[in-house]
Symmetry: D2
Subunit: 333 residues, 4 copies
């Protein structure tokens, strides 16, 4: 299985889902090895680099793509299987951007208070130990944390001719910021436009659930993925599958609506997977759901609803595609 | 170490936090073995028992207590360490009560739609296998699920002379409905009135995160716990500790506010535990928090914010009380 | 018609709805002339008095009452008709209490930001002109504003044995903070306990919709009202009637839920008033509702939904009680 | 003063803000007389026309425009003064579209309940009486209501290269659905792209505040407006001015955030208008704001915050442009 290498130039980054000409046309079944810049577009390289000075809001959260998938039509389902994610630099950066984040007022949760201090943290990567190190800015505490690479942003062109900032999570995917978007996961997205036009970016060397301060350990990433296409069967909202869980992602405000979306979408999926009446699926999921918050900081908030496969009878989705992709992925490593 | 057995009569149940005379006075250090009725007050015993017929809203979510803890004064910290929880019946019940739950309109998220069907599910307990069995009402699917006992409701008398329904989670604890309230966990609650006046109830043989339909596998429970008192140091919101995590629980609406509360409370706790400046704690927690939603169905929604101890330097809270309680608990089992 | 004068001592104020012994027993039909202290309990008397120094949180928002209405039983409807409200002092006070208000983070919309400056404004009353004067603290601007007296807090004892702080608006009424609670308005509240046990307080010499900073022009008030009782027919949520509008008040969080409650309650009322099917009432109200926000600062937010009588066929509620009370009120002035 | 007549063909309607080539280029100072189709694109003409049958979601809420305003650059302020709005048909239509509206679950406030009945109401227009008639579908009640024409949707191209559905209200304006957007009002919008690219549509013959069922008395409209341009001074969110009020419009979810946005924007405007420190503006507005909810049904909810000019010292905004436009408008009528 061949792998197509993709390393965009600065001019080639996309900052929206929709509204951008394809970077490349690919066939279903293609494996890609994609370089993505960090969400700050590489602007924060030391604790002296403050986001209010260095980050250019026109060039925030750059995406690599979009990729035009041949044969993809509205109503189809795009499957992106993440094989590997490797930090592409030896450090990641995080920052408390003024009036951005979960424990501050923002442009929409507007108050008259002063912003929190604009502060940058640099996390040095130790490749041997596979850790990034938190270094407190106000005391001497340093803590080495495991690298757990993930992509904050994965999405397709939206429906209805909309073009959305790469900062937005919505039913087209986008900036969901869930740690579940990691190697071993297959992401299923409904196709809205011909070619699907998916992009990826916003690599995180690690991230807590909720992404409280608004930024993870942001870092350039090299992502290996396999792209597949299922004709029809577009899910209403993003679905994820890994070896252990069925998952859905809802994104909206307030946060309970993000949760409601994810929970209803998993009820729908359980009808397909297990033939369950919605009331029975509602009941069953009430007793087994795992619900890690993804982000409470973006233009929409995101919640993940998960069901552990080991608790459930064996079932397959999309013709067992995830298992097949896992086998294909193994040939790439 | 002696264990005091407590089995209330029907007339002795409490339906509020605050406003009820003590069931019993105990000294700090006491171990209790407490029987609690299920949230339906035992009214649902077969799938033919519908909540709208059988459940008496005056007698919903009965609590065992309140217990007056000698020496407890406002500003102190009550510690409840859960040693064991054993299902006290051979079945649990769950129901979709009309206009109650997360995937339906309710009295406050009011719409003009019809209610979902009032439906009851009975979960048979297999003590040998330690499972409860989900039996679909509309198909033949049956699934044995592990028993994971927990208490939905643990709280003290509220501040300011308020008396709150046992259905409410708030800063006094109450109906938080988090699966973290399980054997091995120590719950720290700020004391608001002399004697603390804590109660427990709402046993769940298992529950998914979010408690989507509004009811878990509700069951009578026998709970063994040790009660301790710390003078002063009352946390603003409930804190939990187990062998693996530091945890806080926020309860409010909308759900993002529940999350904000929990996240800020853990920032505060990290200042005590690790001497971290709030900005550093905010940053660190942004990269390591685990945030399972507790409930999206009660009078307030609840979110848990957790930090894994194994990622962090060694620290102790409240003079290492949790570890001490674990040792004491071991003598009871 | 006699009027009973009520002027409580400091020790007689109530700080909760429910949980307090009656101040007085009255018969339906009684007219009262009631003195109420301001929400700060008189603690802010100059711009040098800061809320964080002077306001004692144990004694905030004192209520005059509760009044036991003879014959009132759960399920009945209490009608309070406001005849007159007169400022009882020559000044009112307002303040930006730290972490309280709509344009600041709070204990539940928790952030890590600093509080806004604790600032007090004193509004001098000009009885001849019937104005209170806003005096800017940072510039010389002074603006005389019309006195438009209202009560922020009107409520009965809650259901289910709850006792709630006088800061809370809920289905029992309470701290709704709507400018509609003014002379000429009749307020209908469902009775939850024997005697209804209503209280009033929190006089405002004027208030904007939303009560943005959390406090109005707070002032001691002398309120004349007539108390009536309707057997049965308890509304689920507070209803108001004046000569021009039918009104309902919903209180919850998020604010859209407060609105939903009020809108659904008015749909229900229109079924009684005009025999309308809920879908027709929904449609009609979609084209005629007026929806002034009441408060976005209290423990629950409140929204008022109004329908202008002059747009509608003539109808009467509760046997034309409002018109009757208007006539009786005229004899008192 | 000449008036340019604009009547688009079906193919010329715009369904998004941004992403559409200009319909026409105009100079600042131009007066337009614009025909706009109704939000259903004329699909509902009888009570037998159900929205689920007849309304094509690809062609919903058609806008007339966009208009390229010569000289408009990002950071400038577009002023649209509405001179007149005349119903362009003899009937308007309203409908309860399944899973759309405020008193139903929706795609994002997702539940498992059934939709409300898909129902259409036709409002006959009486030009002589200037009324539209509500005719109940389930009883015989008919009520003639005053025509109060307004535009639900007024906006410019969004910032950041986004393209948004005409169903969305946001900081670029859009589908705010406020009855304040009526003849006599000047709307100020920040310009995000060269030429501003504004569109208008979604005529309502009348609408209640909140637009509870999701649709007003929707009707084709002939709108006369004058277009002006102010260099610089772009407001962060839409501002409105009429002869009696200063107004701002915030749009977000939850509804309290829409309100916060509007309230903070009016604090900012008061700094410009009256030289007030933000804390003084916050205080003053707390006592005088009028806050009618605009919509609780769209992709974002909208709240209007108003201050009555007659309460305040005389001040002018944007060099007195509103008064000037009123004078110019008078020459057109």
């Amino acid at each position: 299985m061949d792998v197509v290498e993709v390393t965009p130039t600065f001019e080639q980054y996309a900052y929206t889902f929709g509204g951008v000409a394809p970077l490349m046309r690919i066939r279903p079944g293609t494996a890609l090895r994609v370089w993505s810049e960090d969400a700050f577009n590489g602007a924060l390289r030391s604790t002296k680099d403050l986001s209010s000075d260095k980050v250019d809001l026109r060039f925030i959260n750059p995406q690599t793509g979009p990729f035009h998938v041949e044969g993809a039509e509205p109503g189809d389902t795009l499957a992106l299987h993440f094989v590997a994610m490797e930090p592409a630099r030896d450090w990641g950066a995080s920052a408390t951007i003024p009036f951005f984040g979960g424990l501050t007022s923002t442009a929409v949760t507007a108050t008259l208070q002063e912003a929190l201090p604009d502060t940058t943290w640099i996390y040095e990567l130790d490749r041997a130990a596979n850790t990034v190190t938190f270094a407190a800015r106000h005391t001497d505490l340093e803590i080495a944390l495991p690298v757990e690479p993930m992509l904050g942003t994965v999405g397709v062109a939206p429906m209805g001719g909309e073009v959305r900032s790469s900062l937005v999570p919505e039913r087209f995917g986008g900036n969901m910021d869930t740690p579940q978007m990691r190697p071993g996961t297959t992401c299923f997205l409904g196709v809205n436009v011909e070619g699907a036009l998916f992009s990826i970016g916003d690599g995180h060397y690690r991230q807590g659930e909720g992404e409280a301060c608004g930024t993870a350990v942001e870092g350039a990433m090299t992502t290996t993925l396999i792209v597949e296409l299922i004709k029809g069967d577009a899910p209403a909202w993003p679905r994820l599958e890994d070896d252990t869980h069925w998952m859905t992602v809802g994104s909206s405000r307030p946060l309970e609506d993000a949760w409601r979306i994810g929970q209803v979408e998993l009820v729908r999926w359980f009808r397909d997977l297990y033939g369950l009446d919605p009331m029975d699926a509602y009941q069953l999921l009430s007793q087994i759901s795992e619900v890690p918050i993804a982000n409470v900081v973006d233009a929409n908030y995101s919640a993940v609803v998960k069901a552990r496969k080991s608790l459930l009878p064996r079932a397959t989705a999309y013709g067992g595609l995830h298992d097949d992709l896992r086998r294909r992925a193994a040939t790439l490593l």
